[in-house]
Symmetry: C2
Subunit: 589 residues, 2 copies
């Protein structure tokens, strides 16, 4: 059913970001446009022909926990093996450990497609990528030597263990503890919940990264350390030893992504081994675990954004195919025989185009974020800092806007299918269920908005934001000369006014200590900002030659979606007083 949109993806990669020029100039070494196209095409083939066909059995049968053993759905372990054999797990991993060290941008594009094939599948490798990054940046050479090669090849998978029942969004409340043994190892005790792929049958070993507190650690997040806790110990020759004292005690019964095992993990319960405690090795410095985790988490946020884009693309394709096939009624101006395909009805057109346009806006934002990460890594000095700041600003929007788009587009997809959309066999409903977690995990979308307002607006004393706004004004100026785009330039200009006005408003509120007032506007501000860049970034590709379909989509974005900024501006600037007053009167316990 899913057809990988390799043309749109390659076009966005190359022309929405500055990647095409970089390939010409050799900024990414000998990576060529042909190679990029070939990788995108091959990833697309694998996603469409290998992953997507197993999505339904994954949803229907789900992962099953029995006697501490998790069995993934029929065909899934073999799918994972073939995916690793294709070399996909190490796409952006360091060459030193067997990876291909390709740009984050390419990895992100590939993850869009894995997620389109099946989000429940792609989320496993997403976690492994995070673990590789954390070990590569922060682990000792000995640990790297022992674990990284097999994580990069995919022979083992990695997990992230943050959440505890009382500590979700707020890691201050973390209780898991780690006791130093004195031989360089630690004994870990505690319970972690919502651990994605915490236990499974894809690989022989699982490498858990676990946040825990040392006995003498300061309170709060400054007293959290990061540990590597393997499911099985690894002997010096690389073979597997005894079982560590970590196990999956239960698995959640979730709304969606049924094939992805969401585990409650128990560390140091005495189920395995003779000495109390799961054995762990410190990653990075003591009490600096959160910093290590944040390296991973930022990229994980972008990765979750790709879940939104991937789900939205699949939902949009599915709805379009149904609307072209299903016939009901006779649309005004329909020339054919009998009933029209429902795609001929204006309301269905509006839904389908909204789906397509939102997906492409989210794609532009996430790819641009990945590109900024690559440029920060490749650059030096102030240039690198400027690109890092750009990535920092884009990350909360890449995560929150894209995952909201995932839910909205999946919901529209159900609607386009009519009654059939509500029947599970059709598959539209599964996307609606799967999509719903992405706005929640890896920092809720509300937390992304707080991050944008509280941490990103003030970056570099506000200069990072000012530079971005200037660039967006230049996009608008370039557009003003373009013809055939209807009111696109005018709408973008108005939306930029809205963005500048709200940015100034929030900046002033923060500088005057009116934090609550600023936070009341955080969510509508993030959406406003995202809409503006979702359109502006896409306009950058207008000059890239023969794509009238892109131009017409950009115009639809501007005239039908970007106009939402008029509302959002009022919510940011005029919403806080009534919000506070109503909350005081209506929400107290």
């Amino acid at each position: 059913m899913y057809r990988a949109p390799v043309d749109e993806i390659a076009f966005t990669l190359k022309h929405v970001t500055g990647f095409a020029a970089d390939l010409d100039s050799g900024r990414f070494g000998d990576l060529s446009e042909d190679l990029v196209d070939a990788i995108v095409a091959e990833a697309g083939r694998f996603a469409a022909e290998e992953i997507a066909p197993l999505a339904r059995v994954g949803d229907e049968q789900g992962a099953v926990l029995k006697d501490g053993v998790v069995t993934t759905p029929p065909g899934w372990a073999d799918l994972y093996r073939r995916w690793c054999e294709g070399g996909w797990n190490g796409l952006a991993a360091p060459e030193e450990f067997g990876g291909q060290a390709l740009p984050t941008l390419l990895s992100v594009a590939a993850f869009e497609m894995w997620n389109s094939g099946s989000m429940a599948f792609a989320i496993g490798p997403t976690l492994t990528v995070g673990a590789i990054e954390a070990l590569d940046k922060h682990a000792t050479p000995e640990l790297q030597q022992k674990y990284l090669e097999k994580l990069v090849s995919g022979e083992w998978m990695g997990t992230m263990n943050l959440t505890e029942p009382q500590a979700g969004s707020d890691l201050n409340a973390l209780k898991a503890r780690a006791e130093p043994v004195g031989d360089g190892t630690y004994r870990i005790f505690g319970q972690k919940i919502f651990i994605t792929y915490g236990e499974h049958d894809f690989t022989d070993n699982i490498v858990h990264l676990v946040l825990a507190r040392l006995p003498d650690a300061p309170a709060g997040t400054k007293g959290i350390s990061l540990f590597l806790v393997p499911k099985f110990f690894v002997n010096d020759d690389g073979s597997l030893g005894a079982r560590n004292d970590a196990f999956c005690a239960s698995m959640e019964h979730k709304l969606g992504i049924h094939a992805s095992p969401t585990c409650t993990m128990i560390y140091g319960d005495g189920k395995f081994g003779d000495t109390p405690g799961a054995v762990g090795w410190l990653i990075g410095e003591e009490n600096r675990g959160l910093a290590c985790m944040f390296t991973m988490m930022n990229n994980a946020r972008l990765a979750v954004g790709m879940q939104g884009v991937g789900i939205a693309e699949t939902a949009a394709q599915k709805a379009l195919a149904y609307a072209q096939d299903r016939r009901q009624g006779r649309a005004a101006g329909f020339k054919g025989e009998g009933m029209s395909p429902i795609v001929a009805h204006p309301d269905i057109k509006r839904m389908l185009l909204t789906m397509k346009a939102q997906t492409q806006m989210a794609r532009a934002i996430t790819y641009s974020c990945a590109y900024a990460i690559d440029r920060a890594r490749l650059g030096e000095g102030d240039e690198a800092k400027a690109w890092q700041a750009r990535a920092d600003i884009l990350t909360p929007m890449a995560k929150a806007f894209s995952t909201d788009v995932g839910v909205d587009v999946a919901s529209l997809g159900v609607q386009v299918h009519g009654g059939m959309g509500y029947i599970e066999e059709t598959g539209a409903a599964a996307l609606y269920r799967d999509a719903r977690i992405a706005p929640i995990y890896e920092g809720t979308n509300g937390i992304q908005a707080i991050d944008l307002v509280m941490r990103k607006l003030p970056l570099q004393g506000g200069e990072a934001m000012a530079a971005f706004l200037n660039e967006l004004r230049a996009d608008h100026a370039a557009l003003s000369d373009a013809s055939g785009l209807g009111a696109t330039a005018e709408r973008l200009g108005q939306a930029l006014d809205d963005l500048e006005e709200t940015t100034a408003y929030l900046t002033k509120a923060l500088s005057e200590g009116r934090v609550n007032e600023a936070l009341c506007g955080a969510t509508p501000y993030l959406r406003l900002f995202s809409l503006v860049i979702g359109v502006a970034l896409n306009t950058r590709a207008l000059a890239a030659g023969d794509r009238p379909d892109h131009a017409v989509l950009v115009r639809f974005m501007a005239e039908n979606l970007l106009v939402e900024t008029a509302t959002l501006r009022q919510q940011v600037i005029g919403g806080a007083d009534s919000l506070d007053a109503a909350a005081d009167a209506l929400l107290s316990a």
Copy 2:
């Protein structure tokens, strides 16, 4: 968990509509305010204490089909029996057949609460109410005598059989056929899909109302007739006879409302009886079945609107309770010990208030629609016509806006719960699944928007709309003097400008034959209109005394939600060109 909001419901009943004054003046006979309050309270008690506790088992176990027999979840048949014993089934039914003939307004309020308890439960009686109405208005006295009393008591239930695989939104394509036998009966042949409570174990008999074509019928919807087809024949003494040739061949595996059996019904397949064909009796005139069905469908649309309100209310309550209990982080200005309850965070406040405000807006619209239906029934001459026109205008908004609210609020409810929202045990996810069907059935929300623009705007040569707009202007004028409401009057004024401008724009487009252009704006227009009346109708209750909580909620609606009209106006007036251009380029098969 669910607590019936009897105060809000009684307040809305009495003071948002004109009902309180009517009770004083005796317009509704000897119905008193005390009696109204008592009925609301008792319905609320039943919904909260009897229905709601069975919602979860209904979702988890669902209805089960085996060998043609449908078994509802444990406890459900008994729940239905107790509900009927309470007299709830006949609340608004004619006294002649054992009903209480209470206003539609009260019935609608009760249905809000049944739906809050469990939408999968309430939808069964919703269909019976429709069948009672159709028989009461259109059936012969003999049929009425035989069937109505038991339908009113709830001893039997009714169904509506419209949809066939090729005929969903478009009933022109209907194929089921009816052959006259010559003795006043007909033989029915055909397959019907998506038949809600088409088979079950609540009652001994089921009364199917079935649309089918006579052999000589004209093509299209002018050749459709309505038939009564009982599951079991009814003897003259009221006892049940042989089984009719109608049965449930399969049941859908749906996203939600699992306890509600959605059946494929086969008529005249020869499974039961000796002579081919299910035996049916004509309701109303031959070839006039759609007119009979439309009587039911309009009220069914309002009834589906109540599903939206009911689900939204439950989701809002559930999220608020969770947010008051769950502690994470420390909100700015929080004075307590340790972590704040998450309700103290501005972003959570925004979500909870949006949920509460949208629910109350939908409640005001649906109750006002029910009130207009009552006034049309009680009134005479021009007054009755004016109220009927008001009900006609309100119906598509009562259906579409409220069911969109149901989905949006349920989705926000999942979000407020964070990771717990994605776990089925919490119950928030079930509401998100249940809510999703309501924008689809009984005429998709897109069809409601078409109905509003194509049929309702031109009602009475546009006079009905003009009268409504005048009334809304008067609401605004009354508000301009009110204090303590922030920018409410200003926002409502702007929104009214948007409504008037878009109404004029669409009216002109239609009068000039630009139908496609008008239809491109239909969905945003319906929403714009709904937002305006959702606020304006609620302002009517501001004068009703000591409810500062209502005033503060109205202000939140105006300053944070009503501002969406600025966007919707642009979509209606400036959206069609780019929509057409993009559809031509991107959506062709």
